[in-house]
């Protein structure tokens, strides 16, 4: 065996990975070759020096307890991550089933009191006077009332009512039934939404920490009914086709026309879609999409429509305060992968001195924007700031888990180049 062949096998020899035959041949060569022997010594030298300092027994004594403390603090152990959502789900179902049952009871009351009373006037001696005044459960009442003739089961409705009440109130009561029934629908819908993704609970919990109580409701309302967001339709979107339904204020499109929305280049995408897109694009945005929805759905769509509508429509549209926020603009730009512009907006957002939870998430988002531009050192500095300011930051922990994935993504070439 010559030096060349020996040197190709030297590393494997050093690592103890050579078959016995090759090992013997290398050893033979090494006995008579100083040069190869020196190379082998270099390998050993490099390996030795790559050692790591041991922090000492005191460190190891506390190590396990610190791990366990951290696990307990974060309360996200295996029993939580996988098993608890089941219980959580059950609780969620109960949370909505109880109001749903109450709503059903209300519907029955409305139907009975409002609809049937006038049609069948109360008898002179109402048999139900002896019934308890306290409400019986909706199911019980319905079961009792069904076989009975109208009016007899609910004398108290007629008793408290003027006998001259007739068709008009009855119609009003009938009409009242519809919204009442409609109100029964959302809770199961929300429950289904919960069922769809268990991890959503986690995000909701995070959102709970940072959102004002009202904003979450607002978010849900806006997502469900964009028209209610109160943003005037930009002029360019008001020329709806003849006979078409009126455009909604928020998205500038007739409700229920996704194809047309698509035609508009996504500018008027509904909030739910935007939210989904943001969540897909933004790793750290997992927990922020909700906040974004809460703060700025209208702003987001307004920001998009601005570019279409031009300054004239801007002037005519009273811009609500959240619409101008750089925070939402940053999200919008990030969703378009305009990282630099998004970063600038996010910095402006943070300069606005947001409250602590918003700042915590905002900084994490900024770090992600920097990572996406391959400015890892700056992102590290931002992360260090979050670490210092918000010890045990949950958003940061989550982002750290996803950060390698974010960093591996190719940096898109900016459109301006």
């Amino acid at each position: 065996m010559d030096c060349r062949e020996t040197q190709t096998l030297l590393a494997a020899f050093h690592d103890g990975e050579l078959p016995a035959v090759d090992r013997a041949r290398v050893e033979d060569h090494l006995r008579g070759c100083l040069e190869c022997g020196a190379l082998l010594a270099d390998l050993a030298r490099a390996d030795r020096s790559a050692g790591v300092p041991d922090p000492g027994p005191a460190y190891w004594d506390r190590f396990n307890a610190r791990v366990m403390d951290r696990i307990d603090r974060e309360a996200d152990g295996p029993g939580v991550a996988v098993l608890r959502p089941k219980h959580g789900w059950m609780r969620q179902q109960l949370r909505y089933l109880v109001p749903a049952a109450a709503a059903a009871a209300l519907v029955v009351v409305v139907v009975r009191y409002g609809g049937m009373g006038p049609v069948a006037p109360a008898p002179a001696v109402p048999p139900a006077v002896s019934e308890p005044a306290a409400p019986v459960s909706a199911g019980q009442r319905t079961a009792k009332a069904e076989p009975e003739s109208d009016g007899q089961g609910w004398p108290s409705a007629g008793a408290g009512r003027d006998a001259t009440d007739s068709v008009a109130p009855a119609r009003a009561a009938k009409e009242a039934e519809s919204p009442a029934v409609a109100r029964r629908v959302p809770p199961p819908a929300i429950a289904d939404e919960r069922l769809a993704t268990v991890t959503r609970e986690e995000r909701d919990r995070l959102a709970d920490r940072s959102l004002p109580a009202g904003s979450k409701e607002a978010s849900r309302d806006r997502a469900a009914a964009p028209a209610a967001s109160g943003v005037p339709p930009p002029a360019s979107f008001q020329r709806a086709p003849d006979g078409s339904p009126p455009v909604t204020a928020a998205d500038g499109m007739p409700p229920g026309s996704p194809a047309e929305r698509k035609k508009m280049g996504g500018a008027a995408a509904p909030m739910a879609e935007r939210q989904a897109a943001d969540m897909a694009k933004s790793a750290s945005g997992m927990m922020m999409a909700k906040e974004q929805a809460a703060e700025a759905p209208s702003a987001d769509s307004l920001g998009k429509t601005r570019s279409k509508a031009g300054p004239a429509s801007l002037a005519s549209a009273p811009a609500p305060a959240p619409a101008a926020s750089p925070c939402e603009l940053a999200r919008t730009l990030a969703a378009r992968e305009r990282w630099k512009a998004a970063e600038d907006s996010q910095r402006a957002c943070l300069a606005g001195d947001p409250d602590a939870p918003a700042r915590e998430k905002g900084l994490v988002f900024l770090a992600e924007l920097l990572d996406r531009q391959a400015r890892f050192a700056e992102a590290d500095a931002v992360i260090a700031e979050v670490d210092r300011t918000f010890p045990q930051s949950r958003p940061l922990d989550l982002y750290r888990q996803q950060r390698p994935m974010v960093q591996r993504q190719p940096v898109p070439v900016p459109g301006t180049r």
Binding site: G16, A46, A50, V52, F63, I71, A377, R400
Partner: protein
């Protein structure tokens, strides 16, 4: 750690821990904490970040235990998590490149260096630490797993999720670069 648990294999302990046996998880931590710390130190290049990363590694592993398949070897998976934590936990500097402070050069853990080696040790260790820091992460990982952890090529392949042939080529490139950076080699 009880004697019973000490005798259990990693995979069995992981399964027990996934079922809520904290003693089993404690045994796993005790068994692997030094290897995890060394790997994290190698990824981060300093003690503070290595500590963070090592803690984070076990927290992450604990969270992931319910989805852990006991049919898969535990050690390589743990090392992979540790390395990723080490890369992501860095507080400053460029992610994935260890920050080696002046007083932070690793101490040789090798046994009984001779007097000459001891004299030249500090300077050389600093040079090696700098050279290691200069390696791309993929090369550094295989180098650390081999030189620090003493894993076989097959074990490194499992931990890094690459073929054994790639382990060998990366190790060779890593050593070539290291030796070039160290200088003074043959």
């Amino acid at each position: 750690m009880s004697a019973d648990l000490e005798a259990e294999k990693d995979e069995r302990l992981a399964a027990l821990a996934a079922g809520g046996d904290r003693g089993a998880f404690d045994a796993l931590v005790t068994r692997h904490r030094q290897a995890v710390y060394r790997l994290c130190w190698s990824a981060t290049g300093n003690a503070a970040d290595a500590d963070d990363a090592a803690q984070e590694t076990f927290v992450r592993v604990y969270r992931s235990l319910p989805s852990y398949d006991p049919g898969r070897p535990f050690g390589p998976w743990l090392r992979k998590v540790a390395w990723n934590c080490g890369l992501s936990v860095r507080r400053d500097g460029i992610a994935g490149v260890p920050r080696v402070a002046e007083g932070d050069a690793p101490e040789a853990v090798d046994t009984a260096p001779g007097p000459e080696e001891a004299a030249a040790g500090n300077e050389e260790r600093r040079r090696v630490a700098g050279a290691m820091a200069g390696l791309p992460a993929d090369l550094r990982m295989v180098m650390v797993l081999r030189a620090v952890e003493g894993l076989s090529y097959a074990e490194i392949a499992l931990a890094a999720g690459i073929p054994a042939g790639t382990v060998m080529s990366r190790l060779s490139r890593a050593r070539t670069r290291l030796l070039a950076a160290l200088g003074g080699g043959s």
